[in-house]
C-alpha cells in the first residue's frame, strides 16, 4: 500500500459552520495540513467568514485575521511586513479569499501584492459565485451558469460572459509559484502547498471549490464532481514555477464534459449545442496547456550542422529577484 502523504495534523476543527460537502472547507483543511501551525490566515468577507464560526469560537487552529472583502492582498503585504519587522521570518502568511473577493472587488489589491513581490501565499478558493450573499454571479462564474443575478428565464440563459482567467492575470505578474489545486486530488493538493511553503516571494493558488447549494447538486457528490472537473479538462491541474508550466495531472483522453454539466442544477438548462461549446472549450484549454508545457520544456534538439544550436531558454522570470515586502 502506498504511504499516505497527507499530514495527520488537523488545524481546522470539526464544528465549523460550512454546509455539508463544502469545497472551500476541504480546501482550508488541506491547506493548513500542508502549512502547519506557524501560519496566519487573512480572510475577507466570504463564506469563510461564517464557516470559521462566530465569536467567541473559531474553526481554525491558527491565527485568523478578518479583513474587508477587497483588501486581502494588502492585508498579507502588511502581515508580511510586520512579521519581517518583528523577526518572525518563518511565519507562513496566507490570504484565503473567494473568487469574488479576488477576481472582482479585490483584484487591485491582489495585483498590488503580486507586483510588490510580497513574500506570501494568496489562495483564491473558487466556488464560482458570491455564495455568502446568496449565489450571485462573479466574474469567475462559468459562461451559461445559472445564478440569482444571471437567471434562466425567457430569453435569458444564465451568465453571458465567459469565466475570467485569473491564472492568466496572476501569471502576468510573474509570481515565483502559481498552481491550480483541487481537493478531490488531496496528494497533489498537499504537495503543492508544501512546495509553495518552501518558496519565498509571491505565490498564488487557484483552488477548485465546489458548492452544493450554489451549484445545485447533492452534497455527497463533491469529491466525485471535483474529479470530473479535472478529468474533463474543466479544471486541469498544473503549476507554474518561475514561469515554467508543468501539468501535474496528466490525462490521455479527456472525459466528456456532459457528465460534469449534467450533475449540476446550474447547467440544467444547457442545450446540446451549449454542452458542445463547453466541450470545445475544455479541449482547447487542454491543448493550450499541453502546448505551453511543451514550450516551457522543449525536447533536447540534436545540433544540425549549419544550423545554430537550439536557442537557450529565456531566463525564467524570477520573482525571487523582485523586492520583498
Amino acid at each position: 500500500m502506498a504511504k499516505l502523504t497527507i499530514p495527520r495534523q488537523e488545524l481546522m476543527y470539526s464544528g465549523h459552520a460550512a454546509c455539508p460537502g463544502c469545497g472551500p472547507a476541504l480546501a482550508m483543511r488541506l491547506l493548513l495540513k500542508g502549512l502547519g501551525p506557524r501560519t496566519v490566515v487573512s480572510v475577507p468577507a466570504s463564506c469563510w467568514t461564517v464557516i470559521a464560526t462566530p465569536y467567541p469560537t473559531t474553526a481554525l487552529g491558527v491565527g485568523m485575521l478578518d479583513n474587508a472583502i477587497e483588501a486581502t492582498g494588502a492585508s498579507i503585504s502588511g502581515l508580511r511586513a510586520a512579521a519581517d519587522a518583528l523577526g518572525l521570518g518563518d511565519l507562513n502568511v496566507v490570504g484565503f479569499a473567494g473568487d469574488g473577493g479576488t477576481a472582482d472587488i479585490g483584484l487591485q489589491s491582489l495585483s498590488g501584492m503580486l507586483e510588490r513581490g510580497t513574500d506570501a501565499l494568496y489562495v483564491m478558493y473558487d466556488n464560482e459565485a458570491y455564495m455568502n450573499t446568496g449565489v450571485q454571479r462573479s466574474s469567475a462564474t462559468p459562461q451559461g451558469a445559472w445564478t440569482t443575478t444571471t437567471p434562466v428565464a425567457g430569453e435569458a440563459r444564465g451568465k453571458l460572459e465567459p469565466k475570467k482567467d485569473i491564472m492568466a492575470i496572476v501569471l502576468a505578474h510573474h509570481p515565483v509559484y502559481a498552481a491550480t489545486l483541487n481537493p478531490s486530488f488531496p496528494e497533489d493538493f498537499v504537495r503543492k502547498v508544501e512546495k509553495a511553503r518552501e518558496r519565498k516571494g509571491p505565490r498564488f493558488f487557484h483552488v477548485y471549490a465546489a458548492c452544493p447549494p450554489g451549484w445545485r447538486y447533492d452534497s455527497d457528490q463533491t469529491i466525485e464532481l471535483g474529479r470530473l472537473a479535472t478529468y474533463a479538462g474543466i479544471f486541469p491541474l498544473y503549476e507554474v514555477e518561475m514561469g515554467r508550466l508543468r501539468i501535474t495531472r496528466r490525462m490521455g483522453q479527456l472525459k466528456p464534459v456532459e457528465e460534469y454539466l449534467k450533475a449540476q442544477g446550474r447547467f440544467r438548462h444547457f442545450s446540446p449545442e451549449e454542452v458542445q461549446q463547453v466541450q470545445e472549450q475544455a479541449r482547447a484549454r487542454w491543448d493550450d496547456l499541453l502546448a505551453r508545457e511543451r514550450a516551457a520544456n522543449p525536447p533536447e534538439r540534436a545540433a544540425v550542422p549549419g544550423e545554430p544550436a537550439s536557442p537557450a531558454l529565456p531566463p525564467p522570470v524570477a520573482g525571487e529577484a523582485l523586492g520583498r515586502t
Binding site: 462566530p54 485575521l65 489589491s109
Partner: protein
C-alpha cells in the same frame, strides 16, 4: 535637543522616525507627498529601520498598516483628502479591530471641483469612524502631537487609531524652526510597542470575527468606552511628555484670554495662531474677547467646552468645512455639548477658509465684530462676504 527648520510634513516624517515606526505604507497625494518622500529617504539611507510597503492605493496603505498593527508592529501612514475618503471602510476596521496606529492627514479640500487648498471636509467627514482626531496649529505641535499620539494609542486601555492633521500648505509646506528632541529622550517617553497582539504566530486566535446582536453591541460599547478614556489618558501622556521633553501641549481645548471675555471664538488648526493675534489687538482696544483652540475633535472635549461656557456669554465656532444640511461640524458639537446647562451662551457657526481661502487678521476681526453684536446662530459663510476682495486680488 536641536532646532531643525521643518515643514509640517517634515515634522510628520521626523516624528515617525523618532517613534521608530516599523511598518510604513503610503500612497502619494498632494500635499502629503513630501512626508512619504522624506520617509522613503530615511528608510533608503538606513536612518530609519522600517519596512516601507509601496502600495497601489491609500486603501491598501491603510490595510497594510492595519494588518501589520494586528500582528504587533508600530505603523505609520499619511494621506489627504481623496485618499482619506478612499480609506473610509478601513477606518472603521482599524477602530473596530483595535489596531493602534497613527495616520498623518494633510487637511485638503474634497473634490469636485478639484481643489488642493486647506479645508477640513476630509477629516470631518470621518469623525464617526472611531478615530481620535488632533488638529495642531504649528509644525512644532505636529511633531509633538504625533509622538504623544503613539504613546496614547498604544496604551492597553486605549488601543484606538489616531489622525494627526495639518492644514494644507499653511503647515504642510511652510517651514519653521522645530525643536526636535533627541532620539534617546524620545525612546524613554515612547518605548517599543508591546507586541502582545491578539494575532500571534502559533496562537489560536481570531481578530475581527462575526457576531450576532448578542455580542456585537458589546464590541461597539468597548470602543465607546476606550474613547471615553482618551482625554484622561491624554492628560497623563501630555504630562509625561512635558516632564521628559519639556513642552506643554495643553490638552484638548487650549484657551487664550478667555477669563472675563464677553465672546470667545473656537478655532481648529492654523486659524488659531491668527485668532490669538486678533484677540490681543481687540483686547488692546478694550474689547473683551478670547479664543480657544480645539486641539482634539474626537473624542469631543465636552467637559472642557462646558467649563469654558460657564463664564462666557457668546461663543463663535470657526469651522473650515461644512456639514451639508446642518452647520459647521465643530459648531454642531459645541451646541450639543452645551445643551441643558444653565443659562448657556449663544453659539454662532462661522465658516472661513474653505478650499484654501486665506483667513487673515482682518477676516477674524470681522468674525469677532459679528459675534459681539449678534447672537444669530449662523451659519455665516465669511468667505462669501469677502469674495469680491479675493477676486480683485486675483
Amino acid at each position: 535637543m536641536v532646532f531643525k527648520v521643518l515643514s509640517g510634513n517634515g515634522a510628520q516624517a521626523e516624528a515617525a522616525r523618532l517613534a521608530r515606526v516599523q511598518v510604513i505604507a503610503a500612497y502619494p497625494i498632494t500635499p502629503q507627498t513630501t512626508i512619504v518622500e522624506a520617509l522613503a529617504e530615511m528608510v533608503a539611507s538606513g536612518e530609519l529601520k522600517a519596512q516601507y510597503v509601496k502600495v497601489e492605493s491609500e486603501h491598501s496603505a491603510l490595510q497594510v498598516c492595519l494588518s501589520a498593527s494586528a500582528l504587533g508592529a508600530r505603523t505609520y501612514s499619511a494621506t489627504s483628502s481623496q485618499g482619506l475618503l478612499l480609506m473610509h471602510e478601513l477606518l472603521h476596521w482599524a477602530s473596530g479591530q483595535r489596531t493602534p496606529m497613527v495616520l498623518g492627514v494633510v487637511n485638503r479640500a474634497v473634490a469636485p471641483p478639484w481643489n488642493i487648498g486647506a479645508d477640513h471636509a476630509d477629516t470631518m467627514s470621518q469623525r464617526d469612524t472611531g478615530w481620535i482626531q488632533f488638529y495642531p496649529e504649528s509644525n512644532q505641535e505636529v511633531l509633538d502631537t504625533v509622538l504623544t499620539a503613539y504613546r496614547l494609542v498604544e496604551d492597553p486601555e486605549i488601543r484606538l487609531p489616531a489622525m494627526v492633521t495639518e492644514d494644507a500648505f499653511y503647515l504642510s509646506h511652510t517651514f519653521e524652526p522645530v525643536d526636535v528632541p533627541d532620539p534617546e529622550t524620545v525612546d524613554r517617553f515612547l518605548p517599543p510597542k508591546d507586541a502582545r497582539a491578539i494575532l500571534r504566530p502559533g496562537v489560536v486566535s481570531r481578530l475581527g470575527s462575526f457576531t450576532g446582536p448578542d455580542h456585537y453591541v458589546g464590541f461597539r460599547h468597548q470602543v465607546a468606552e476606550a474613547m471615553d478614556r482618551v482625554l484622561p489618558k491624554l492628560q497623563e501622556v501630555e504630562s509625561e511628555y512635558a516632564r521628559r521633553i519639556g513642552r506643554v501641549l495643553g490638552g484638548p481645548l487650549v484657551g487664550y484670554r478667555t477669563e472675563d471675555a464677553d465672546a470667545v471664538l473656537l478655532t481648529l488648526g492654523t486659524t488659531s495662531t491668527t485668532a490669538r493675534g486678533v484677540v490681543d489687538d481687540l483686547r488692546s482696544s478694550g474689547r473683551k474677547v478670547g479664543m480657544a483652540k480645539l486641539r482634539v475633535f474626537r473624542p469631543f472635549p465636552v467637559e472642557a467646552v462646558r467649563q469654558l461656557a460657564r463664564t462666557v456669554g457668546r461663543i463663535g465656532v470657526l469651522d473650515r468645512s461644512f456639514t451639508f444640511g446642518a452647520l459647521g461640524p465643530a459648531a454642531s458639537e459645541v451646541r450639543s455639548a452645551l445643551y441643558g446647562i444653565p443659562s448657556p451662551p449663544s453659539v454662532t457657526s462661522f465658516l472661513s477658509g474653505i478650499g484654501g481661502r486665506d483667513v487673515g487678521p482682518q477676516d477674524l476681526r470681522r468674525v469677532f465684530e459679528a459675534l459681539l453684536v449678534s447672537e444669530a446662530p449662523g451659519p455665516r459663510w465669511m468667505d462669501l462676504e469677502t469674495s469680491g476682495e479675493v477676486a480683485a486680488h486675483g
